[in-house]
Amino acid sequence: MTNIKILGVMIGTISIYTWIANAIPQIESVVPEELSFSSDVSEAELVAAGGELYNGGAGCTTCHGLETRAPNLLTGYNGEGTIGTRCGTRVPGQDCKAYLHESMMNPMAYVVEGGFDPMVFQARVFSGAQIWALVAFLQDQGGVVTVTGADVAAAAEADAAAPAGGPAVASTDPLEIMRGNLCLACHMLNGEGAELAPPFDGMGSRIEADRIRRGIIDPGAEIAEGFDHLAGSMPLTIPDLLTARQLELLVDFLAGQGG
């Protein structure tokens, strides 16, 4: 009888925990679907694919499903309505499609005040077709979908032609190179940028050109003193996004930043 009681207590306890875990909302982490569209893809197909990504594998709702980390794009934010109704007025002179696309390609450009920095790195994991499908879905939230099959086809061609990324900008101006590669999203220079990583101001007086070059090519090799907690944050793709000439221009420019 004692053994039966013990068994009952144990199985009963396990059953209660299992029941609770099954009674709460069930959320699965799905794998982001690889999209393959032809140029005659319909609006409905794009919106549906974007919706699946947004609510599933892309993980958007982790932050955009709340109001504490990032704007809730589907239910409105600060009384401004859903994203489809307000995307066209966020930046003067920029239409909804361009704004949304830019927000994903270059997220730091439009992160709202108090926004969450993981968005900076989010776009790296999406293909061009996935980005356009997401744009279509977001436009559909109260607005008009203007993404077309031509946009998707062009993005797919670009992805295929430049799988390694290629240079992010064609400029030879160090400042433009830094802006185009989002360096100022973390580093500060002359009041521009963020104070997350070591500042570019005075960098030449702290470290030599070789060390700067190494820091860009292999960011994990040597971490600046006091920034150990950011180890691994610097994108490893930067060298793939610069030409050799751009890299040397950047190194010279930063080495010239005295105290």
Partner: protein
């Protein structure tokens, strides 16, 4: 004749883990020529009915359950032996030996499940196995070597117990216990490096990095390695204590004599004490691990705490609430067998209230993923009332109050049958009370103040709350130890006179710890999502998606059931081979002896 057959059985049983490790090693060597011929293994294999993921999950979880037990128990076995040496009380030495006997029979199960896991990885996930073994091969061989040393140290430790019982030989024997812990810790550190590498590979490792090019030490000592080491080290003690408690409860309920009942009552108390004491420290190690995960990758941290796993923490809070309640309930019921404890009994209902409110606040969700319909039904992103209780300020306050309350329960239990003889008893008690009030006031102040400052400032407040509680606990214990030196006894603890219902609390503790361990294992592994090695080696199998909590809970429950069934069988078999060691605590302390002799711990 009978004695000889028992000895042979013991050695056979003891040799099994070593034989298993040798077999796995030989298999790995046998596979090498295939690799040399340019043979490329397939990426994934199939497992019938439940699938490869569930099969590997169950094997890994069961191996971890047993491994945690055989790593946790030697820690307090060696401490119990030391108490026995220093206090010259034989009952502690016998208790340590009984702990070790449980250990011996559990080693085989650990090795068996380890072998199942390795064979599972080789046959079901050959691609991943090949990748990991190319990086970690040297540490895998060192692991096997240390396992040998660990096993043989254990044999010497257990079988030499009665031979090396006195004088210098006893110290040498105790040294073996320490060595056993060192081997065990080394084995854990090596295995932890493999799994933490999968979570947090070094920044320089990309999908294009060939495994042979990954720097060994950088992969070994990765970002989450040390936090996991510390977290597991403490959790193993908690787990070992809980399982020992359940073992003692089972023996108590099936005891035939008063002496046996008294012994296992005492053993159950020690198991509960170890489990709850270490549990109090565990959340701090958890905070550190969480912070390291956020610093390694914010997306990973967000996925863990606020993404698809957000509901998991509500379930975790419920389980921890059960642990605190069951642990305290056991102590309160146990006070019934301590003369003098009656004076503290009226306070228990208030402590229960604090624990219930604390558990409810801790389990209150806030940042949950909600769809449009759910947000509309709730009247906004947060619940109008419960949303206020869901923030970290309220949760940190709640958990610190629960820790303080549990500590108070232990203190009252410890002091129940003692009467201090020092002249400063009243002053000492007043200071202890003041320390409780100050700690509670600091916790409450920062809990309320947290609502009026930005979140980044609020996060720092938890450190002040924790420091206040830890400082108070340390100071109160020191004062208590000084105050109770040479204390008079109000009467002997009546070991064995414990209501049966109290023993079921020990079973609930063991089941809940085991289930919680499975849940946390799912959280740690699941935050990699569809990556074998996060953002380096993608999971392209049919099971790449990470399942929802409902499915996970079923797998966890199956693992817990298998584990507990095997533990019951192993302990039963162990009981067949040798008689349990009864320490005779019931008559161990006399009325005239200092009360401290009843419960040094």
């Amino acid at each position: 004749m009978l004695k000889r057959s028992r000895g042979r059985w013991s050695w056979l049983q003891a040799s099994l883990p070593v034989a298993i490790v040798v077999a796995v090693g030989l298999l790995a060597i046998a596979m090498e020529p295939l690799a040399a011929q340019g043979y490329t293994p397939r990426e994934y294999g199939d497992f019938p009915v439940i699938g490869s993921r569930a099969a590997i999950w169950i094997a890994a979880q069961l191996h971890l359950f047993f491994a945690a037990f055989v790593l946790g128990v030697p820690m307090f076995a060696v401490v119990a032996e030391a108490i026995g040496i220093f206090s010259s009380e034989e009952r502690y030495d016998k208790l340590a030996k009984e702990f070790t006997r449980l250990l011996l029979v559990s080693y085989s199960a650990t090795a068996m499940w380890g072998a199942v896991l390795v064979f599972g990885l080789i046959t079901l996930y050959p691609g991943l196995w090949g990748y990991l073994s190319e990086i970690f091969a040297p540490s895998m061989w060192v692991y096997v070597g240390i396992f040998f040393f660990e096993s043989f140290t254990l044999y010497l430790y257990y079988y030499g117990w009665d031979r090396w019982k006195k004088g210098r030989a006893k110290w040498g024997h105790w040294g073996l216990g320490i060595l056993l812990n060192l081997w065990g810790t080394a084995v854990m550190l090596i295995a932890n490096s493999w799994l933490t590498y999968m979570m947090s590979p070094p920044a320089e490792v990309t999908p294009d990095t060939a495994p042979g090019m990954v720097q060994f030490w950088s992969a070994f000592a990765n970002a989450t390695w040390m936090p996991i080491n510390i977290h597991r080290f403490i959790a193993n003690i908690v787990f070992g204590g809980a399982i020992v408690g359940a073992y003692a409860a089972f023996r108590f309920l099936s005891a035939k004599t008063d002496e046996e009942r008294a012994h296992y009552d005492w053993m159950g108390y020690i198991g509960n004490f170890i489990a709850i004491s270490a549990l109090i420290v565990l959340p701090f190690a958890g905070y550190w691990l969480g912070r390291e995960i956020y610093e390694f990758n914010q997306q990973m941290g967000t996925t863990m705490m606020g993404g698809f796993m957000s509901w998991l923490w509500v379930v975790q809070a419920f389980l921890i609430g059960v642990l605190f309640l069951a642990g305290n309930y056991y102590l309160w019921v146990g006070m019934g067998r301590i003369p003098g404890a009656e004076r503290f009994m009226p306070y228990t209902k208030w402590m229960l209230l604090v624990l219930l409110i604390g558990a409810a606040v801790w389990a209150t969700p806030r940042n949950m993923i909600a769809n449009r319909a759910e947000i509309t039904a709730m009247g906004g992103q947060f619940h109008p009332f419960l949303g206020v209780l869901g923030v970290m300020s309220a949760k940190n306050t709640a958990v610190n109050f629960m820790i303080l309350t549990t500590f108070l329960s232990f203190l009252l239990y410890r002091r129940a049958n003692k009467k201090a003889v020092v002249s400063w008893e009243k002053r000492g008690t007043t200071i202890q009370g003041a320390l409780f009030v100050i700690a509670a006031a600091v916790v409450l102040f920062y809990g309320v103040y947290g609502y009026f400052v930005p979140s980044i400032v609020r996060i720092g407040f938890s450190v002040y709350q924790v420091l206040a509680v830890i400082t108070a606990i340390i100071l109160i214990v020191v004062i208590d130890m000084l105050m109770m030196r040479g204390a008079k006894s109000r009467g002997e603890i009546r070991w064995g006179e414990m209501p049966e219902r109290s023993q079921y609390a020990l079973f609930i503790l063991a089941v809940t710890f085991t289930w919680l361990m499975g849940l946390m294992g799912f959280a740690r592994s699941g935050i990699r999502q569809h990556w074998h090695v996060f953002e380096v080696l993608r999971d392209t199998s049919v099971d790449a998606a990470t399942p929802a909590l409902g499915y996970a809970s079923i797998v966890i429950s199956v693992c817990v059931l298998i584990f507990l069934s095997m533990v019951a069988f192993i302990f039963w078999v162990g009981g067949l081979a040798e008689k349990p060691v009864i320490s005779g605590v019931g008559g161990g302390a006399t009325g005239s002896a200092p009360a401290a002799r009843d419960q040094e711990i």
